[in-house]
Amino acid sequence: MTRFRTMLRDALHRSPRFEAVVLLLPAGVWLAIFFAIPLGIVATYAFRPRHILGGVYPGWTTVHVVRLVEPLYLVVLQRSVLLSLVATLLALIVSYPIALVIVRATRWRALLLFLVVLPFWTSFLVRTYATIFLIRDTGLINHLLQAVGVIRQPLRMLYTPGAVLFGLVTGFVPFMVLPIYASLEKLDPALLEAAEALGAPEWRRFVRVTWPLTLPGVVAGSMLVFVPALGSFLTSDLLGGAKVELIGNLVQNQFTSARNWPFGSALSLLLLVVVMIGMLARLRLDRTRTRPRRGT
């Protein structure tokens, strides 16, 4: 036992690189088998003939990839991207003020933060379901509007694109608030005082100092909203009924009722490409912002 221990110790610590490889191996192998390889298979499935009962036949075809550019599916893609972008923007408009209020608060700071962290940890499914109570025909909003006398008939809100948008925004707001809050908290108050001493009133200080310095948090939060919103099918399923189809629903259908795995794989690839374009755009943005510029 002791000899083994000594041998192992010497083997590991003679080379930190060897030690690192040994430590990384289990997680690396796991992610290779259960993440990377499956993604690779998805990529090949997109070019396989379809099996009626799910799965594929041997052989190759481009029929599924060609089908992607049919207007029917392009409309869904367009709608998904648009809805996700708008949801991200609205989430930002709600989240930035929340983060600001938390950072500026003194006595209530812990509570205000807790009220964001709580939904962050609460089941997304439950929160989406709970939204129905607010916006259904007999929900609180309709009750209030009728009580005030603004409307007679209940306003149809559930099972509309607006409902899906609302669900996405409230669903993902906590994911946007926390990174913005983190970057706001790191902001040195002396910079704002310096800007004030140099003549910038409050909103100018926001535009010229606070906003550019918290942009990394905004970008991180936007990715955390945009990516899951783009791939979501739960929100559109529960709040949109079957009426607001997004690319996530389309993928889900191919693997459930439609049983068209190759086309589902092709759709997934398309979705992945859009997400990766977003990621690359973000990396580029990061790089141009951090790269030192020399000369004029």
Binding site: H13, I98, L115, T170, G248, S268, V275
Partner: protein
Amino acid sequence: MTRRIVAVLAILGYVSLHLPLLLLMLGSVNVSRSGARWDGFTLEWYRRLLHRHDLLVALRTSLIVGVVATIVATGLGTLAALALGRNRWRITRAVEALLLVPIVTPEVIAGISLLILFSAVGMHLGLLTVIIAHATFCLPFTILVVMARLRGMDRSLEDAALALGADEFTTFRRVTVPLLMPGIIAAALLAFTLSFDDFIITFFTAGPGTSTLPLVIYGMVRRTVEPTVNALSALLVIGTTVLLLVAQHWMTPERVGTNA
């Protein structure tokens, strides 16, 4: 003026986050079946939960999956974090960047790709496939959390142990692991919550008879406006709140002894 707009938007945000949950709680104790108006207080829906055998089975499945997936993800994640957190070579940085790929991959894609893998190798969808799927999507998160803790740790403490005569194993066991513990616990909590709440990936990788709680809730929600689902959802929200309060109490800096 600006401050007022900020405050109004923030209040709107908080209301939209919490009002639905409050209405859900109210609905769970409302006599009215449809919940269209307040008909009085009742615990009937909670009582009915006790007779729902399928829910108890689903809860058991969720717990088993959550615990096993958490152990796997936290174990593998801690090992990997030790390699990544201590070294700043170009290759470890590249690995770190690669970790973001599974995190930003939409869950639908992770779900269907595992479904395809399992069917390609002929694995029947069941408890094992769900556990594998959950451990997989939790793993990058556990690595990141433990790594963050490792980066904030005072490395001279390990050197001190070595200088005091402890060998690398003893140092690891008696210094590194205790100092890393808060990070490991945080990673495990995150993994368990992610697993317990997951719907999308489970949807594709669970077989008949291995429905987790979110799958059962989804089924109930889609079918009817059955108030028992309100009671169940309310219990989940309350459970999350309690766990979070306990976790925050446990993870306060004084208890954890942060030296970041």
